[in-house]
Symmetry: C2
Subunit: 224 residues, 2 copies
DNA sequence: CTCGGTTTGTTCTCGCGTTCACAAACTCCT
DNA sequence: AGGAGTTTGTGAACGCGAGAACAAACCGAG
């Protein structure tokens, strides 16, 4: 498979601009490939992978083409090879340290979520401002005071923070995270965070998702 | 999510085709308006509301224009009036009954999430296939057997189901939900669900969100 | 009543993302 | 070796959403 090296352009590798929409789908492909691999499937066509990932095959091929030419015409894709290439592109071949702030119901659920560890993320600390939660052990980690944030980030070179606090505390937590040098935030609090441009924020909002479903549900009822 | 143009004609109001991107932002505006209202603010301009919602004001005005003309030129929007109009459009002026299946860490967190009740959703049942979880009381509700699904859906006219099970069980749960008449599913399991076209599915995937952050994080490091 | 200042609703343009369709490239069979 | 059958990678067309810009509409002062 030295062919890949031939098609490489000016930059050594992986420095092309990948569209945001494609980036959002790469993890889906990665998961589908992992499933296929676990089923002992060594090769798959773009059509098979597209079905497994829930997209259309043309889109899949175009997405993969941004990474390079990792398939073989007339044959398809080598499952493990493609899986590695996507993982490398996303950056989950090594582990990313993650800190979770706010260890309520949701924070505990996140801490216990096995999908993180198996997908390139390692929870290095659980922090909570509430002294009542201090020293509880969740998922094998002691819950520490929020003020430990700076030390944790420094010692573990944490770049990614997860906010699972109530809405009122979220902005303060975000500010502190940014001050400590965290540059990517996953926010579960139902509030719009204000952060500098160079910091990436992704929001997961449960009630918004339900409201979107409710809108469509309402329209279904109207036509019936 | 392709929403077919079902009834594009003949409707008094609020039946216009609202773009999917706009629908996804309406709940954000709704939340921002609620916050403003709680602060005692009676009127706001598109610029103020846009800042509170984290979008640009031209986009906000365009979004609102799909609903109708609810503002006053030279003045702005009446906060409570606009809030009601958006709530009505989304369909959260009445309560939607919701059933949650899979009462592990995440399911419990969801059951306890107060944002549901306050935003037009009412959790009517918690179900789990595991007998060990049976009869536990979570958020004031007894955890019932998964086989109760059909009865619950019928008795409460449930249209929206939440799946918080492990990946392996999720497709079976979805199939059963569809068979019972549920037409909107919020899926937290890391798997692509296969459902009929008329059923809406929204996916919340924690590790995918983190992987997207990791991709950008990796690129930041590469340039620095 | 009129005029200046303000803010909405809408039109227009541009860029991104999706999809189609097909040439290029590979395998297998004869 | 050559041709038939597959499947990838990509150029081109198309549609949707974002943002800029402006006319229409409203308020208040004089």
């Amino acid at each position: 498979m030295e062919r890949a090296a031939v098609t490489a352009r000016t930059s050594p590798e992986s420095a092309r601009d990948i569209p945001e929409a494609t980036v959002a789908r790469l993890p889906v492909y990665l998961r589908a490939l992992t499933t296929l691999s676990e089923q002992g499937i060594g090769t798959c066509s773009s059509e098979e992978l597209a079905v497994a990932a829930g997209v259309n095959s043309a889109k899949l091929r175009k997405d993969l083409s941004y990474l390079g030419s990792y398939g073989t015409r007339g044959v398809g894709y080598d499952v493990d090879y493609l899986r590695y290439q996507i993982a490398r592109e996303i950056g989950v071949t090594q582990d990313w340290p993650v800190v979770i702030v706010g260890i309520g119901n949701l924070g505990q659920a996140l801490a216990n979520y096995s999908g993180f560890r198996s997908r390139g993320f390692r929870v290095v600390a659980l922090l909570d401002a509430d002294p009542a939660r201090r020293d509880e052990v969740v998922a094998g980690l002691e819950v520490g005071p929020f003020d430990d944030l700076e030390r944790i980030v420094r010692e573990h070179s944490v770049a990614i923070g997860v906010i699972a606090t109530p809405a009122l505390a979220a902005q303060d937590v975000a500010d502190r995270m940014v001050a400590c040098g965290i540059t990517s935030i996953l926010n579960f609090a139902p509030i719009v965070l204000n952060v500098p441009d160079q910091v990436d924020v992704r929001k997961v909002d449960l009630s918004i998702e339900l409201q979107i479903l409710a809108y469509h549900e309402q329209r279904k009822g109207a036509t019936a």
